[in-house]
Amino acid sequence: MAFRPETAKPLNELAEILLHAPNSLTPGERELIATYVSTLNDCYFCQTVHGAIAAAHLHGDEELVRCVKLDFGQAAISEKLKALLAIAGKVQNGGKQVTKADVEVARRRGATDIEIHDTVLIAAAFCMFNRYVDGLDTWQPHDEELYRQRGKKTAKEGYVTMSREYLPRSSQKQGA
């Protein structure tokens, strides 16, 4: 992101709207979707940092995050979120895998059209973010505490504010 601030700007804005901005799905629920998809894509950086952000939103419940990554069907989350995670998993495998029946189950469990849309876009966007991070072979430190601290800060401040740490001022002014 710091290497190419021009593209970092819309990417951070997209993450901000999908994961941090007010939504009928909580930030914790949306971060769990992002973490789950990143786990399926085997992206260490994304699953760890978004897992830490999810935990920060969920009162530090790292065990719940671990459970969602391992087998969300057994996790202590709503039936609606389980249906949305199932859709997200299908999107990770390929958009055409999502069936009318998957969407019907989510709807029966109370998911709105916007929530279904955002679930599909979070899953699709994280396939992009995961491939971006791993396709460039980025440096990914293995230090849980570092991700925990960054997770807390991002959960509090959001993506656009956090990006100011590494983006030059000139690129922040553009289109702001």
């Binding site: 593209t7 819309p10 990417l11 009318k100 969407v103 279904i116 849309h117 876009l121 289109g175």
Partner: protein, 69 residues
């Protein structure tokens, strides 16, 4: 029939963009920078990369629209 009630008569990604303009804005901006703005790779070369990946992903709308660009 789309999985959610997207605006009719708009093909592919444009219907999803119209449904959710908040997320459409950064996505359009990203595509514009990656594919259209001045770059040492020509717009044609960059559209070919987008078309190739869309073909591998078997996405009819994207491979056809970016193939035409």
């Amino acid at each position: 029939m789309p999985h959610i009630p997207l605006p009719e008569q708009l093909p592919g990604i444009s219907s999803a963009f119209a449904f959710r303009p908040e997320t459409a804005k950064p996505l359009r901006e990203l595509a514009h920078i990656l594919l259209h703005e001045p770059n040492s790779l020509s717009p044609g070369e960059r559209e070919l990369i987008a078309t190739h990946v869309s073909s591998l992903n078997d996405c009819y709308f994207c491979q056809t629209s970016h193939g035409a660009a």
